[in-house]
Symmetry: none
DNA sequence: TGCTAAGCGAGACGGTACGTCAGGTCTTGAA
DNA sequence: TTCAAGACCTGACGTACCGTCTCGCTTAGCA
């Protein structure tokens, strides 16, 4: 969008002209980019709790007050940094089958939570206990994801793989939840096997006898 | 009382020093109970991040150093407090059907995450991002739960409701994960309807046509 | 380790007979000697300010309370330790002349203040600013000295070197004061030359013309 | 120098913009004066050992961190406070005779050590045992004094009251040392009589017979 | 081109909490 | 019964970051 074009422009152009353009928007300090980078670096290095505004300012070579002028506290600052980075972007698979798509999605999610750079970010989104800026970001993130995933489910319905009245959010929560549970709360790896097993568990009856007992829906 | 009776025993146990008997009880300070209470109260009031050792000491009517003598930092302190409280206890349902049992479990989980007193605790377990004492506690908690839940699944297998090779951990992660996702990351309520839907989604095929499309595993 | 075996050995050997006797006198704990030693060692190592009861207890292999039972605080403890040691003893010279005796005394004083082991002690006596136990000790020390030095002055009077009504305290204060000033407050060395100059300055008129300028006293 | 001229300037400048002056000096916190006052008051009230940074901060109505921002510890803080106060200033007498001058000097010294306000200061200078910031101050103080006193001795030499090769430091040490000894170590008063006796002892031969041996008195 | 307003660096500040050290007191078991 | 051991409260330590403030310089966009 405008953001990406602006950033690419500013990186190539000289500081005198580039900064002017950024200031025009009035959306942030001149050193916004360095500040965001420093924020993410420090988040990755230290985790959310030990991320401090002071350290960000120092690493960005910026005065502390400059940061406070633009963001009220650590949470919003990190939020902004995350939004600028493309770190949380997902890309919606289209493998031709629901199962393939879901496995791809779950794999993405696992890599997000596990990744060296993205893992700390994912963990940070939980740090506030759902009550702060980061939690807002998390909610937005998951809501966005869901919106982007809707076509995927529409295709599955069109292919006849999915009942039209199925709630995509429920499917996503089941799959993503299992991944998060396993990685964050159980601290176990989420290998390809696991990802497949999760998706299959959602797509098919788990109990062998269950189907015969209860019949098709 | 217990201490004095122990003391007679102690003379035989170790020869070098006698004074250690007091230490036998040595699992905590005299005011352990008050400290634990204060810790949980403050956790509930302020959340994990704003829970401070200083405030705990003050509310417990105890000196800060007393706390530091026994627990190195906030994390372990909270961990101990949680272990003493019965807050995280679960009670394993036995309704006669797997579905009933799982709904009961999921309901418990939802109440745990949502509860006025237990919610903050649940959130706190995520606060460290999986890297601290609290995360240890969380892991232990979920591992314990799983152990306790095994009989439930054994009964289901015995009743023919579940394939013998089903991984209980996977089922639990799916169900619990969906609950956590919904409540914590989406900040949506987890009503009874939702809990049932989650369990049903795991127990039955979600896609109507799925069985016909894909062969048996 | 060696310590525990040693202590157990010593406790068995001496505790039955030795400790009882010492306790009978009630003049101190069984480990008085080790405590005193530790006290002086630590005084020498760290100076008065950084001498702590805690460290003394640890080095003496004794519990802190044992020390507090017998001495109310650091000051009296150090006082006792100094009294036990012969560190502050002086020996009264008798060289045959007042000048020789005073030079010997002043030299002793200089060595006391300067000495590796005795220096910290001398400094400690000033640390309380004259208001604590150590100051009491200092006063006692100087009063004692003066008493012991009286025969020296009596001999000088007898030899006709000194007016009978001369105040020995004044002489001693002049000489000792100059030494303390130079060493402690000016941090300069007090060599033999200086000591002689001090004594001579007290024994003879300093101003050459003085007598002619001023009338009789 | 620059400071005094600056301060006089600031007094004339307008009251509204006066706060900027602070940056000019940059030599201390805004509340330096209150901090210094509080420091000296507490020194006088409690003595050096029981003087705490925390109490100074509280009395000065300043945060503890403000003090630590400017002075690393108690010693340097007190040093600064003493230097700002004119408490340790001396004024060099010029009575026309060496004896009169020395008596005046010794009297000043006695009042300094004895004074209600200055006494604790004098004692504090000894508290560190010669090894800390205060001792530095003490050394500087005595060195300064000596420099200021040199003209006094020059005048005495010019008047023919003193041999030109007399060491002023020795005289001063003798006199000041006797005063300190008497007051601090013997805890005796230093009245006018004593001061005169000290000076006379230094100026004239002490031993009666000595004079006959060495020439006219 | 010069004026005005915003951004900014600099750095001091009050404040909360940290985690630690040492001073003394108190309880309680062992000799 | 005395003594020793360890837990305890208390007060202070020195530090890290917080979030706020003022000041004066720079810079950018409008007049």
């Amino acid at each position: 969008m405008g953001e990406s074009s602006t950033s690419s422009t500013s990186s190539t152009s000289s500081s005198t002209s580039g900064s002017r353009r950024r200031t025009a928007g009035g959306t942030g300090p001149r050193a916004a980019e360095r500040i965001h980078e420093a924020t993410l670096e420090l988040l990755i290095e230290r985790g959310y709790q030990r991320l401090t505004v002071e350290a960000v300012a120092q690493r960005a070579g910026v005065n502390k007050t400059t940061i406070y002028r633009w963001w009220p506290s650590k949470g919003p600052l990190l939020r902004a940094a995350l939004l600028r980075s493309r770190m949380l972007d997902i890309d919606i698979p289209d493998t031709g089958t629901l199962r393939g798509d879901l496995i791809a999605l779950a794999g993405q999610m696992a890599r997000l939570v596990n990744g060296e750079r993205t893992g700390p970010v994912a963990r940070a989104m939980l740090s506030g206990g759902g009550h702060d800026e980061l939690a807002l970001l998390a909610r937005g993130f998951f809501a966005d994801r869901l919106e982007q995933e809707r076509p995927l489910f529409a295709r599955a319905v069109a292919r006849g793989e999915l009942a039209p009245d199925t709630d995509p959010a429920l499917l996503v929560d089941l799959i993503a939840g299992a991944v998060w549970m396993r990685i964050l709360l159980r601290q176990l790896p989420a290998e390809e096997d696991f990802v497949e097993a999760v998706v299959d568990a959602v797509l098919r009856p788990i109990g062998v006898e269950l189907a015969s007992v209860e019949g098709p829906r």
